[in-house]
């Protein structure tokens, strides 16, 4: 993975209202941490960072961070996490993980498929993408932006497991080798579709606490009786007062 140059500025605003103002002014709050130095709050130009993301294949980006008024001219960092707004997708906050060029890092890399599987093309099956990210370990410069799997030879009932994936040179794929990444399933029969629809059919909703509620009904009845008694007393009181006045 090639590193991309990015400019950052030190940030002193940490409170919520201040950070909101910062975002409104076209900046994105960020932070950098790592083994080389202590954590530091930063801010980025939101447009510059959005352009960087738009041109990247995934959110795994290696950046050469130039921090204003910093002792070191450049800091090599991986984008560790990007927080997005749930509705409009705007970047809210970025985490940078400072890495050393000669130290291996462990990163989650997205898995993509290329081509149309034979089982889908001829057999009418469905390509099922089960694992969307793979954990890999390598030097920062060897990190792949994404792992592309060729699925053109995949027949119905066949699958690609983590152990089957040919890792790029210098990259080690971690995790259980038996996990399925991509599979081609057989086309669904009509009965199966009808069965799925019927499965949703349901009668009355069963209550798990029904018996307890019945037991709880007795005190409520007592309460009602008390309330009724209370009403009688309330009715009786004004009459008594009227008699006293007489």
């Amino acid at each position: 993975m090639k590193s991309v140059a990015l400019k950052a500025y030190p940030r002193s605003q940490v409170q919520r209202a201040e950070v909101k103002k910062l975002r409104a002014s076209g900046r994105v709050p960020a932070t950098i941490y790592g083994r080389q130095a202590g954590p530091q709050n930063l801010e980025l130009n939101s447009k510059e960072f959005a352009d960087l993301l738009n041109h990247a294949a995934s959110e795994n980006v290696l950046v050469d961070l130039t921090v204003d008024s910093d002792v070191r001219a450049k800091r090599l960092a991986l984008v560790q996490e990007i927080q997005h707004h749930p509705l409009d997708g705007k970047v809210l906050h970025v985490d940078f993980h400072e890495v050393a060029e000669n130290e291996k890092v462990t990163v989650q890399v997205p898995v993509e498929t290329s081509g149309e599987a034979a089982g889908v093309k001829t057999g009418g099956g469905t390509l099922e993408h089960i694992l969307f990210k793979l954990k890999v370990r390598s030097l920062p410069k060897d990190l792949p932006e994404q792992i592309v799997l060729d699925v053109t030879a995949l027949e119905i009932g066949k699958s690609i497991h983590v152990g089957d994936i040919q890792a790029p040179s210098g990259v080690e794929i971690l995790g259980d080798k038996h996990l399925t990444v991509v599979a081609v399933s057989a086309p669904r029969a009509e009965e199966e579709v009808a069965g799925a629809a019927a499965a949703t059919a349901a009668g009355d909703v069963e209550m798990t606490k029904e018996k307890k509620d019945e037991a709880g009904g007795a005190p409520a009845a007592k309460g009602d009786a008390k309330a009724a008694a209370g009403d009688k007393k309330a009715d009786a009181k004004p009459e008594a007062k009227a008699e006293k006045k007489k």
């Binding site: 749930p86 509705l87 099922e128 579709v193 059919a201 909703v205 069963e206 209550m207 798990t208």
Partner: protein, 140 residues
Amino acid sequence: MAMQPARVKFRKMHRGSRTGLATRGHTVAFGEYGLMALERCWMDAKQIEAARVAIARNMKRHGKLWIRVFPQKSFTKKPLETRMGKGKAPVEGWVAVIRPANVLFEVDGVTEAIARESMRLAATKLPIKTKFVSRHHHAS
């Protein structure tokens, strides 16, 4: 038949609050494409079912469909010409509480064109504005 819980602890519920944005279930998690809510509502089981049928018909038994919302909440309705009071009314139906950014449906194994058309047809069955989202391009 519309969806409803198989078993509940208490049949009648408080109305609750539906303010804010969805903090969970706001990403495309299983499929490739999804339908995201842009408004808030109580989506009843019939609406979810109508949207599901619309998607399934357009996809013609190809691909896979995920329904990401479930009507967990019961709502009650007083009978007509009934005076107020006398306790909470009987359960009328079941709804899912939808907040903006909730992903309602997801599909996979079909082309983007088919997914878009399926989601458009599903959106016509729903009481709120929605948008088509993809796993690759973040909500924006």
